[in-house]
């Protein structure tokens, strides 16, 4: 098996997790053999990208169902079909014998409700019983009487779908548990939040992040200097996934030697493009610049970089480089002001490029 390092060294059990130990401890308590395992609440995990939300959820399930015997990682993907008004929709369902993982937002904003109505109810109306496979525990083994449904991208659920979920969660709580996973709570309605155990998983601290990266580079025998790891942690902002992927990217490129003093971290292709946009807006305050930037925007959007992310990265760039390009404080405030206006427009409207262009012309004008 030749996985990328990020997948190769992903923790599989709760004990292997390497940061946010307090949360790990709570999860361990929840699923420990002493408590009633069928009392586990529905959980809503949220936190920044690459902090290990999914890893933690899977480790938890591994503990609940398999007593850390890794059976939960025997996954397969089914394609489920739904029919709406003679239009048939397909949903990829990742499943193990113990749980299923779905991303209802794949079906689009107007159709995700059907997943709740059909799939979850279907699972909820049959009873399940799993016997944890471990043999090490003494005494009687507890049967797990529920199947778990992991909902990815929960913040992208439409309001209709979320309302459909409210009662479903309670009604079928005997047979199913729901674990929702998302980056931000802002789109999730209060009734759902109140039915869930909200777990905020923050990104690892700088030392924690560096330890993880160092650990992996040691295992893969990559030589690495402090300069590199500092630059890497600046780029990744605690995103472990990005950190490990960039590490491997660089290692492949530089023949496993990242110790040079003048080493520069390669940014992902799209971030390079965003840097270019920012530089253009600062340097050439002309109408032609808008036209050039439109081309880059179109390129980014066509290659699946979400407009919100573009906006976010532009603002981050300005914040990071404000001193470098000698931006006054009030100008930064203006950028953030306009970014928030057009971020809202992105949500309210449908054609991303219109709003990005609106933002960038304001930015060229104001800073």
């Amino acid at each position: 098996m030749s996985y990328l390092w990020v997948d190769k060294y992903r923790p599989k059990t709760l004990s292997e997790l390497s940061h946010s130990y307090d949360i790990t401890a709570k999860l361990e308590n929840l699923s420990s053999a002493t408590s009633n395992i069928n009392n586990i609440p529905n959980i809503l995990v949220y936190g920044p990208n690459g902090a290990g939300k999914k890893t933690r959820i899977m480790a938890l399930l591994n503990r609940i169902y398999c007593q850390d015997s890794n059976q939960i990682y025997k996954l397969k993907i089914d394609v489920r079909q739904f029919k709406i008004n003679s239009k048939s929709l397909e949903l990829n369902v990742i499943s193990s014998p113990y749980h299923i993982e779905i991303t209802p937002s794949d079906l689009g904003f107007s159709n995700d409700k059907i997943v709740i109505q059909e799939l979850i109810k279907e699972l909820g109306s049959t009873s399940h019983q799993f016997t944890p496979t471990s043999s090490s525990t003494t005494g009687e083994t507890q049967h797990v009487r529920f199947k778990t449904i992991v909902i990815n991208d929960a913040n992208k659920l439409s309001k209709a779908a979320q309302h459909a979920l409210r009662r479903t969660i309670e009604k079928y709580s005997k047979n199913i548990r729901i674990i929702m996973c998302c980056e931000t709570l802002s789109n999730i309605i209060d009734p759902i939040r109140s039915r869930m155990l909200n777990v905020r998983l923050s990104a690892p601290s700088q030392p924690e992040f560096q330890n993880i990266v160092k650990d992996v580079s040691l295992k893969e025998s990559v030589t690495m200097g402090d300069i590199f790891i500092n630059k890497l942690s600046v780029l990744c902002r605690g995103n472990i996934r990005l950190g490990l992927l960039t590490l491997e990217n660089m290692a492949v490129l530089k023949n496993m030697d990242l110790s040079g003093a003048d080493i520069n971290v390669i940014k992902p292709d799209w971030m390079v493009c965003i840097d270019k946009i920012c530089l253009l807006t600062l340097k050439n305050k002309t109408v032609d610049t808008v036209l050039t930037i439109r081309g880059i925007f179109y390129d980014l959007l066509a290659h699946c970089i979400p407009a919100e992310l573009i906006l976010q990265k532009i603002v981050e760039w300005i914040l990071e480089n404000a001193e470098l390009v000698k931006l006054r404080q009030d100008k930064i405030t203006t950028v953030i002001y306009y970014a928030s206006i057009f971020d809202e427009r992105l949500k309210l409207g449908s054609k991303d490029i219109f709003h990005l262009e609106g933002f960038i012309t304001k930015m060229i004008l104001e800073i």
């Binding site: 098996m1 030749s2 996985y3 990328l4 997948d7 999914k54 890893t55 990682y73 025997k74 397969k76 993907i77 089914d78 489920r80 079909q81 397909e90 990829n92 990742i94 991303t103 794949d106 107007s110 996934r241 992927l245 960039t246 491997e248 990217n249 492949v252 490129l253 992902p268 292709d269 390079v272 493009c273 270019k276 109408v287 808008v290 036209l291 439109r294 880059i296 390129d299 980014l300 959007l301 066509a302 290659h303 699946c304 970089i305 979400p306 992310l309 427009r345 309210l348 409207g349 449908s350 054609k351 490029i353 219109f354 709003h355 262009e357 609106g358 012309t361 304001k362 060229i364 004008l365």
Partner: protein, 854 residues
């Protein structure tokens, strides 16, 4: 009012003076012959003849004598000038104040001091003026003048002004030359034009001057030489036209007579039924639409495109000879290699008629298939294919044996495929089938279409004789329409026809239809006075194209106090609604490249741009409310303003070349990549973490590096490693290609991909195809989707394969993966994941078990 202008008018006089004597004589002769010929000739011509006497009476008018006195007095002020009646237009022209060219505002130079006050005063007083209320001059009072309009006139729209000028007999041109007699100068005239005026010292007047010119000018331009010359020329033209009309009418009468006789003669030879039906159609001519009734009945009657029709005729007549030569020799005119001809051109110019007439004139039997027939591949094969080698049976009934012997064509078909560009939708494979027919047909085929250049018509390239029909010009249309008018006892002025041609865009059928309609609704016929109203009613039916909508909305002349008065908001909204789906997209596409004509004080182009893009962004929010969720279509008017008119008004000026909205293309590219990403994401989902976006933003750059760099660096030796990585992530070779297309900017992989030697590439493909690969996703049996059938089949086959190999595979597993392997075995679906080579030995043994699919 300077001495310069006097100089010019004198220059004109002296220049033309030498010709003066001879034309006047001619004029007399023509007028004489006119009246003698015209009597009882037709109704239309009587209007001409009636004009002639008034002309003569004018000559005798005492006002003529004042000419000299007025001509000398150049300093009379305007008030006086209006009261006088001029006999010579040049004199009047001299009296009208010239524009001070140094104070004229041009588009770029922003000096408004001269015109600003005047235009606004005018606006409040008069508002916009239409053609009729502008001025009331004598008939043909501007005859002989060549007028150029430039810039924005205070009250008149450019088009209206030109129409007025034409109505009074002036010649309107777009560019200034030595022949230009007067320039009507408005606001924001082009700087190049102004300099040209200065250079040529052409007389320059304002709109007010133009009004005076019309009001004051004598009928038919008075006694000025230019006017006379023009008047003679017109009379000559009319005379010529008259002769043409007459000959055409005679020709038609003859034809009818001939046809009638022929029919009576050949009546017995024909089958009774056909004959009687045809006869009945003939007798009920008055019931027919004019377009049918006056459709050309012989080749000579076809309007315009004479050479093309002749080419078609020679091609068709030589078809048999060329057929025998196997279409190898191009022949004298180069047409000998074509088995089919393609007539293309706008509607209503006689393509179908020409094709039918040519076939008829050469004695071919016509089989026509048009858009009303189903023309799919199967239908064509079934119904048309058989025709292509056959002979006509009809001919045996219709013609005598001698006739058939003389003209072998009579036994032949010609296949006319009309409206070929309309083959679509239901006509699946029709175009392909037709091209196949053309390559081997034994029967001539004539194809007819409107749009030759669309991609759908590309298969016909180089296998057809191309005959692009053009719109006939006014000259070739006039005799035809006049003859129709004559026959229907309908009043039509030749001068009006020119406008009719312009309105209909050269569409003869439309012109005849307009005549037909107005003959029923309008008793007075079509004259130059009511043509503009007719024209505007006909024009409204022509939809405005999206490119015109965009360029109009973005042009500066439509905004500001002058523009808005002439082109109010509701008209702009009307423009939006003529293309409501694309309008906002087009504005968004083109607003950046538009150079604003008016930048308010204290603002920059960039500020205007930013405001405009802000509006466009807001417009999109409205758009979403309209199109999704609650479908608030009532917001459309608001959308029209926010998304199109408001941003356009901010930036309006000189739009550069209007581009088509690239959003549409970009959006579909995006759709494609989203699908590709979804596939990639779910193929590898079992082993990766994060959302789809994370996969794109974080995984793909690294995956690309890991999958591409070894191949670039080590070539063939690294292929196995790369394939192993692909297999670990359940990715296929296609996915490998897909990943490479995702990167943008400096890390774009196209250059790198080109660096891979072809040998390595093909080795990669060969190696990949020779191995078995795990698949992660499984379609439930009921799930049959497009393209899914293939993968499903592959799944099954591999699944069976795996089960066969399964027992001996178990030993190959590593210790640490054993736990996974045991459960893998239990799960039939996941057993697919097994044939991965954990050890070198296992890999070697596996590779020998090769299975190639077709």
């Amino acid at each position: 009012m300077s001495s310069k202008n006097l100089g010019i008018s004198q220059f004109f006089k002296s220049k033309n003076g030498s010709n003066k004597s001879s034309p006047t004589k001619k004029e007399d002769i023509i007028m004489l012959s006119d009246s003698s010929d015209g009597e009882g000739e037709d109704i239309i011509l009587s209007s001409n003849t009636s004009k002639a006497p008034t002309e003569i009476s004018n000559v005798g008018c005492p006002s003529f004598n004042k000419q000299e006195a007025v001509g000398k007095d150049n300093t009379v002020d305007e008030l006086v000038c209006e009261k006088k009646s001029y006999t010579n237009i040049q004199d009047l022209l001299n009296d009208i104040p010239s524009v001070d060219l140094d104070n004229v505002t041009t588009k770029v130079v922003d000096v408004k001091s001269f015109f600003k006050g005047e235009t606004q005063a005018d606006l409040s007083a008069a508002g916009t003026v239409d053609e009729d209320s502008f001025a009331d001059g004598a008939t043909d009072c501007l005859l002989g003048l060549t007028i150029v309009f430039t810039g924005v006139l205070p009250t008149l729209e450019r088009g209206v002004a030109e129409q007025i000028a034409k109505k009074y007999g002036a010649k309107v041109t777009k560019s200034i030359s030595g022949k230009t007699s007067v320039v009507v100068l408005g606001d924001e005239a082009g700087p190049s034009k102004v300099s040209k005026i200065k250079q040529l010292k052409t007389k320059c007047i304002t709109e007010e001057g133009f009004r005076q010119l019309i009001n004051g000018s004598p009928e038919t331009g008075g006694s000025s030489i230019d006017a006379k010359k023009a008047f003679e020329k017109r009379l000559k033209d009319e005379k010529l036209m008259e002769a043409q009309i007459k000959s055409q009418i005679e020709q038609q009468n003859k034809d009818e007579l001939l046809n009638g006789n022929k029919k009576i003669n050949s009546g017995e030879l024909r089958s009774d039924k056909q004959h009687s039906s045809e006869y009945r159609l003939k007798t009920n001519d008055s019931l027919k639409l004019w377009t049918q009734k006056y459709a050309p009945k012989s080749l000579a009657e076809v309007c315009g495109n004479k050479t093309l029709v002749a080419r078609l005729q020679t091609w068709l007549s030589n078809w048999d000879t060329n057929y025998k030569l196997g279409f190898k020799s191009p022949g004298k005119d180069g047409n000998g290699i074509y088995r089919a001809a393609m007539l293309s051109g706008p509607p209503g110019i006689g393509k179908t008629t020409a094709a039918h007439l040519v076939a008829k004139s050469l004695g071919f039997e016509v089989v026509e298939k048009n858009a009303s027939d189903v023309r799919s591949k199967s239908q064509l094969n079934e119904k048309v294919k058989a025709l292509l080698g056959g002979t006509s049976v009809n001919s045996y009934f219709e013609y005598t044996a001698e006739e058939l012997k003389q003209n072998k064509n009579l036994k032949k078909f010609v296949l006319i495929m009309d409206e070929v560009d309309g083959m679509s939708g239901g006509d699946r494979g029709g175009v392909g089938a037709l091209t196949a027919f053309i390559r081997k047909t034994q029967t001539p085929i004539i194809l007819i279409c409107n749009e030759r250049r669309i991609p759908k018509m590309r298969p016909f390239d180089r296998i057809c004789l191309e005959l692009p029909f053009r719109r006939p010009d006014a000259k070739s249309v006039i005799p035809r329409l006049m003859s129709i008018a004559y026959k229907e006892k309908f009043k039509l002025e030749p001068a009006a026809i020119e406008q009719l041609v312009a309105v209909s865009g050269g569409d003869i059928r439309l012109m005849i239809n307009i005549l037909n309609v107005s003959s029923k609704t309008d008793n007075q016929g079509i004259t130059r006075n009511n043509i503009s109203s007719l024209a505007s009613s006909a024009e409204k039916d022509v939809s405005v194209k999206i490119f015109d909508v965009t360029s109009q909305l973005l042009s500066g002349a439509f905004y500001g106090s002058i523009g808005s008065a002439r082109f109010p908001l509701w008209k702009k909204m009307e423009l939006y609604f003529s293309e409501y789906q694309f309008c906002s997209l087009m504005i968004q596409e083109n607003y950046i490249t538009t150079r604003p004509s008016q930048i308010p004080a204290g603002k920059s182009h960039l500020q205007l741009l930013s405001q405009a893009s802000d509006d466009i962004s807001l417009g999109d929010v409205v758009d979403k409310n309209i199109r999704s969720g609650e479908q608030l279509w009532g917001l459309m008017p608001a959308h029209s303003i926010i998304s199109s008119i408001l941003p356009a008004s901010r930036i309006a000026g000189a739009p550069s070349r209007i581009n088509f909205a690239s959003w549409l293309g970009q959006n579909s590219t995006k759709g494609k990549f989203v699908r590709l990403l979804q596939d990639l994401f779910y193929h590898s989902k079992i082993c990766t973490s994060g959302t789809k976006t994370d996969f794109r933003t974080e995984y793909i750059p690294t995956l690309k590096q890991v999958l591409l760099l070894p191949i670039l660096a080590n070539g063939t030796s690294s292929i196995l490693n790369v394939i192993e990585t692909l297999d670990s992530y359940y990715l296929s070779k296609d996915d490998w290609d897909t990943i490479m297309t995702f990167l943008i900017g400096p890390q774009d992989t196209t250059a790198d991909l080109k660096k891979i030697p072809t040998a390595v590439k093909s080795a990669f493909t060969r190696q990949y195809n020779s191995m078995k690969h795990p698949v992660s996703s499984y379609h439930i049996a009921t799930a049959v989707t497009s393209g899914g059938a293939l993968t499903e089949k592959a799944d099954l086959e591999e699944a069976i394969d795996q089960e066969e190999v399964e027992p001996k595979e178990d030993e190959d597993y590593d210790e640490n993966n054993d736990d996974i392997a045991t459960t893998l075995k239990k799960d039939k679906l996941l057993s697919l994941a097994k044939p991965r080579k954990r050890t070198a030995g296992g890999a070697a043994s596996k590779k020998t078990v090769k299975k190639r699919k077709l």
